[in-house]
Amino acid sequence: MSTGPQLHDLTIVGAGERLRSGDVTSVDLLEAALDRAHRTEAQLHAFLTLDREGAGAASQAADADLAIGRDRGPLHGIPMALKDNMCTRGLETTASSQILAGYRPPYDATVVTRLRDAGAVIIGKTNLDEFAMGSSTENSGYGSSYNPWDITRVPGGSSGGSAAAVAAGSAFGALGSDTGGSIRQPASLSGIVGLKPTYGTVSRYGLIAFASSLDQIGPLSKSVTDAALTLGAIWGHDPLDATSYSGAYPDLTADLDKGVSGMRIGVVSELAGEGYEAAVESAVQEMVGDLAGAGAEIVEVSLPTFEIALSAYYLIAPAEASANLARFDGIRYGHRAPGASTEAMMARTRAEGFGPEVTRRILLGTYALSAGYYDAFYGQAQRVRAAIQDDFARAYRRVDALVSPTSPTVAFKAGDRVDDPLAMYLSDICTIPSNLSGHPAISVPIGVDDQSLPIGFQVMAPALGEQVMFRVAAEVERLAAFTARPVIAEVAS
């Protein structure tokens, strides 16, 4: 086993420099990532599908393009992984559900098209909680993923496969989707950067919907700069998504080096206390102190509605999901169970095809929307959502950005929360408010606990405040100087 930095440890920026210096090729980068996957997949199970053939061809094309001076930008020639809820033309896409076993979409999601146009090499499709419903990737219909920092623990979820792949070096970056924290929480638990952009800035066209009003695609990466470059490649107005933002988009990298001097940063008082691990709280407090030391004015901010955000989320998201997942009925694609009538066939297909968590949420959502309950449940949840938006708006009149832990805990043991849905739901308590408000938020690794498990720090900003968010996140990354890498006992799978 070699020592020192290896190709698979490079950031996107680092790999790009080596590519442009002629030192390595895209094919070399792909081989390094595939080799790393080959040695770690048996332990991690980050991927559902590795597309060696398609990725090989894309790498060769990227190298050929660079050789003639056609440089498509920062992602050119970079092997990237996609969460398996993003449609890839001709390449199996299952959202980790048995109901979509063998499904090959006839079209590429907009983000996939944009990654390809940016020269990225799509290495494969990563594991997730079925239809992105979960916080540990244990709800996958194809087996759990595990955390590269400790393979007895979960990588977080639902974008756990993408997080594990990036943390392990099996991809230089990845895309995930975040409905209630599904990018930021696994990034936090896996010691990498992950962000959810402002709702409407990244097209959802081709993203298999969980909760349409909350879902956003975003990057998982090894550095804040990588995250900004990746987001820059995939965001922007898309006429195929009616909720896509059509105004001006901010420059993502302009303020990365500006520091936080003179900024007002709010610490959310509700996201601390009971249920928060001591190591997480102390690491977050230390970082807040460091930000003050770097010239930021720190303000304690109370957002009382955060206490009820989780309850509202678990009505809105399942309600939307109950309709979004209605289309999986065995008639046009995916799994089909036999049945004596059309109705029996549909019912049996769904009973067989969906796992228990998905079934639970469909039932919950169907109930919340039912006549006679609508106003008490779904209607009330929408009013809470509006109140959370008001709370945020009040806070952003006082501060430029808000900070908190990303997750109340470090990575938990596999199996610990699978039988306790409420404990699992609490994993997302810090991340859900930004989904309900539609605001951007990022998780940056800031340290490890006494078991060498990574801790993430969340930076939140107002709508289209990505520039501010990245400015603070880049400073957090510099102050944390987090350089630890997971050590995985490699075994050839």
Binding site: N85, P105, P106, A109, Y205, A242, T243, A326, Y333, S370
Partner: protein
């Protein structure tokens, strides 16, 4: 006891936009099954709807034509139900904030003008089409169901009337008037046989003078105006019979059986009534601002009710105005041009709705290709007015014009139809007929004055219709000593 029927009608109109409501697939009829589809209208995972601006323009046009209040901001909802031909298992529709509300439609039924309230008109997407093949074509006996998604996602406007309709005949008139309206707006093919217009009726009865509504029954599967009228008529009778026999009416959906001429209760689907409506999160609210609405209003063609009112004010009676308003647009244009050229309105309208329409029907000529223009029709009408030709001869002149024999004056001359205006010549003809029919003259003397009619006919025949029948009549009466 007298019973009053209370009827409300829901009409679904498929818009003839170029593309579907939420995707770029073409709106077309009669293609190979499942060839006119894409990820969006097939409900594939990850696909998203994008609204069609043309469809929104057109529902606003329909709303304005119905005198509706148009919402500047309206919202799409998901209507959730499982059905094999509904690819997402929810339909994108509208719920509490439709595009159009509170309008009305004016009809003429049995010479009476009726104003039927419009509750709402909302935008939605059509479903695919199920064809049950196998034994008898009934769902429960089917061996297989074939699904065609070509129609899936076609823009559909649902127009819901208020319960203002009071008879089967009014139901039919309402549906016909609505069809005429959307056809004239040019927003739909409006073809019943292709399903581009479909209707359901809600029927109840109550004792005369009662304010409370009776129990409502929804009837479906009427595919012509006639079947709508028959179905409503049957249902009214069925309900009255049930109530008079001491029974009750059950709230249900019934299926019209065209062949048997009866309605049957439909198999009810458990729980199908709770559609769990909620705001469609894939779409943003639809905002149609005042300026946009004004532009659509300015582009509206003249509507049937406006046109009828204009015809009445130009001197036509209600009935003639109604009939003229309903004839094909090219024929109305001939009328407008003829009147503009100086022909009197009522007579011109009679020619258009009578002889001209009849000739076109007999000769199976499309009104678009009617071989006459306003100038020639005006000339013909004026020739009758000034006595140049008799009204019976004028029919031959019209035929000649339609057969391409030239202007009315040429046809009248060439066919020798110009009215005899020389009194001496006419008198000679009258005398000849009197001489040839002595028994008629005797009958008249014996008091049978109606033989004059026979004699007039003889004179007209002898003069090949060129005589003025009024003048002949007067002359005969004088000569017979009346």
């Amino acid at each position: 006891m007298s019973w009053e029927p209370v009827i409300g009608i829901e009409v679904h109109v498929e818009l003839a936009t170029r593309s579907k409501m939420f995707c770029g697939c073409a709106v077309s009829f009669g293609e190979e099954p499942n060839t006119n589809v894409c990820p969006v209208c097939l409900g594939l995972p990850g696909a998203l709807p994008v609204p069609n601006k043309q469809a929104i323009d057109w529902i606003v046009a329909i709303g304005l034509a119905l005198g509706c209040e148009v919402s500047e901001r309206s919202v799409f909802h998901r209507k959730n139900y499982f059905y094999a031909d509904l690819p997402k298992n929810y339909q994108i529709s509208q719920y509490d904030i439709p595009v159009c509300r509170d309008g009305h439609l004016e009809l003429t039924v049995d010479d009476m003008t009726r104003v039927i309230g419009i509750e709402r008109a909302h935008m939605e997407e059509d479903t695919g089409k199920s064809t049950h093949v196998g034994l008898g074509g009934r769902i429960h006996a089917a061996e297989a169901t074939l699904l065609d998604f070509n129609r899936s996602g076609v823009p559909l406007v649902e127009i819901v009337s208020k319960p203002d309709i009071r008879s089967a005949a009014e139901s039919r008139a309402y549906a016909q008037e609505l069809r005429r309206l959307v056809a004239e707006l040019g927003v739909s093919d409006a073809r019943l046989e292709e399903g581009s217009i479909r209707f359901d009726a809600n029927v109840s009865v109550r004792p005369g003078g009662e304010d409370e509504y009776g129990v409502k029954v929804e009837i479906k599967n009427m595919n012509s105006f006639r079947s709508l009228e028959r179905a409503v008529d049957f249902e009214i009778r069925r309900q009255i019979d049930a109530l008079e026999a001491g029974g009750e009416v059950v709230q249900e959906t019934r299926h019209w059986d065209e062949e048997a001429g009866v309605t049957h209760p439909m198999r009810t689907k458990e729980g199908s009534s709770d559609y769990r409506y909620f705001t469609e999160p894939d779409l943003v609210p639809m905002v149609v601002d005042a300026e946009w609405i004004a532009a659509i209003r300015a582009a509206l063609p003249e509507l049937p009710a406006e046109r009828r009112a204009r015809y009445v004010s130009s001197g036509l009676d209600d009935e003639l105005a109604g009939v003229l308003s309903a004839v094909a647009a090219p024929l109305r244009q001939v009328y407008e041009d003829a009147v503009a050229a100086g022909a009197p309105a009522r007579q011109t309208a009679n020619w258009v709705t009578g002889e001209l329409t009849a000739w076109l029907r007999r000769s199976e000529t499309d009104p678009e290709e009617a071989p006459i223009d306003g100038r020639r029709l005006a000339e013909l009408v004026l020739m009758v007015e000034d006595g140049t030709v008799s009204s019976s001869a004028a029919r031959d002149v019209l035929e000649g014009v339609l057969l391409g024999e030239g202007d009315p004056s040429d046809v009248a001359a060439n066919r020798d139809l110009i009215q005899m205006s020389d009194a001496a010549e006419l008198e000679a003809a009258v005398d000849a007929i009197l001489a040839a029919n002595p028994e008629a003259v005797e009958s008249f003397a014996a008091g049978e004055t109606k033989v004059v009619g026979f004699l007039v006919g003889q004179v007209m025949r002898a003069t090949s219709g060129k005589a003025d029948p009024g003048l002949v009549n007067r002359m005969l009466n004088e000569k017979l000593g009346g």
